[in-house]
Amino acid sequence: MRGYLARKTLVYGLTFVVAVTLNWLIPRLMPGDPVQRMVARAAVQHPETIASMTDYYERTFGLDLPVWQQYLNYWAALFRGDLGTSVWLFPAPVSQVVLDAVPYTLGIMIPAILLSWVVGNSVGAMAARSRWLDNVALPIGYLITAMPYMWLAILLAWGFGVALGWFPVAGGYDFGLVPQWSWSFALDLLQHWVLPFLSLFLVALGGWAIGMRNLIIYELESDYSNYLAALGAPKRLIRKYAFRNAMLPQITGLALQLGTILGGALVTEIVFAYPGLGRLVLSAIQNQDFFLLQGTLLFVVIGVLLANFVIDIVYVLVDPRTRTGLTGATA
């Protein structure tokens, strides 16, 4: 187990360094200059004003130092939780901007991921049981999985939002509300949350169901299932075992899918103008806010890494094979 976790930690550490470095590097390789953006925004014309503003913003963004020092500073600042200053939302610190948006994204992502995983796996397990269900659920599952996130989101927005008017199609909560602890506010939050959540949930659902169905079929064909059957174990027990074992790759799959679902969340948020990270990313792009984009990416990477790590720990807890040192002999 220690070996397994050590290995994983090494991968995560490496990923983190790579991600941070990439993150730091990319904007510096790109055309475009945040300082110029800031100065241009003020639409000043006089050379002295331009010079002194340029100078000021360069200092603010730490771009006046040698490159290697910028890199080191970047790391140092990172560990202080300082992701720099946003260009677009100057002078808001990037970390604050990101933290403000994170709860919305987590709010749709976590339930969507967990619920789709749980429900998808159950549906998949059921589909593996019945030929009829299999024939119905499988094509539907594949079609849902094949839907572009935003298209499903658009359809939901159009159908339930514009046409039926059941749910709002923009924002995190009604613009007329003051956030507070009340049922009406919670209800409103929920109303705004439903459609983005649903579009994410549905697309992910299909994938899990299909994965589970295939896995269960394989598990049911496995030696231990055959043995149990030969010893007269009821189908229920065999399925239970198969399900249990099929869960393991699905847990790994969950870690692998995080990135994908996150991508979906970003797109979905854009459709529903949900004030989460997705919209932030888009705005950062549109406003050439390198620092914000960097910060958001970094935050996302850290989030995914953490989630992966949690999943790994869960995996270690449920799969005894990772806990014993007996794997890996070659001869």
Binding site: G3, A6, R7, L10, G328, A329, T330, A331
Partner: protein, 330 residues
Amino acid sequence: MLTLDNLDKVYKTGTFGTSDLHAVRQVSLDVQRGEVVSLIGESGSGKSTIGKMVLHLLDSSGGTMTFDGRDVTKLGFRARREYYRKVQGVFQDPFSSFNPIYKVDRTFETLRRSYFPQVSGSEWRSRLDDALAAVTLEPDDILGKFPHQLSGGQLQRLLIARALLLDIELLVADEIISMLDASTRIDVLNLLGELKGRGLGILFVTHDLSLGNYVSDRVVILYKGRVVERGETSAVFDDPLHPYTRDLLASVPHLDRTWDEVEAEEAERTQRLAGRCLYHEAVTAQGRSLGEEADSADGVPDGVGLVEYAPGHFVGCFRKAAEERCPAAT
């Protein structure tokens, strides 16, 4: 012809090879032309690893290998190609030895492309016929078929024919019959005997003592990567010295004697050897000192090899594992 001297194999395992797995330790043996040497051991004894090292499918970690006096321990790609002209192998699973998506002919074609690009089609065909005849296969029954259309015995013989297309001097036969049906096994074994008669040296790797006994001139008994006993086949089988060899022989299911009968027969010898280590006795008899080798904490230390107990019959220390003491040490 082929001589292994203190050959070692260490596998790196764990993250970035942080731990070692010593698969083969200090193995020394030789194979001469026109003889079959059987390498006998249970799974994990390192017998196949040795076979693969001889075939350069695995790199050795220590020791040397010579072929006709030339050091072949390390070979580059080109040198290896030349080496393969003289040394070839046949493996355990005949089905896995053929790429299932191609007809069996392709195995020969690969060889031809690689070694005989100049040979004309008809010339090649006649060589092929000769090789097939040598393994008693009718070309028409075989060529143009997919592997799954042939029997394991046929496939194994095909593979031997493939080796014969090159003018090989040494054949490494790695468990070549363990996956065959009893009815065809013997034919393949007989073929080995025949090849031996033509002057080929054969390193026959097997876990089956009765099969080893049947064809081989000399046997090498391996235990956990180490040679524990080696000598003329009859000497080893009739008078096994090492306790492991004796255990092994006693476990073989015979067709004419039950295990109980075998154990009864062996009881006397077991009695005679109780509490002794012939290795140490022989070493002392030769006037050499024992050193610490018998008490070393981690099993038999490296450098403790075999001793010639009787002419041509070598034996190692009786101590089998770290936790087991050498009976002579007490």
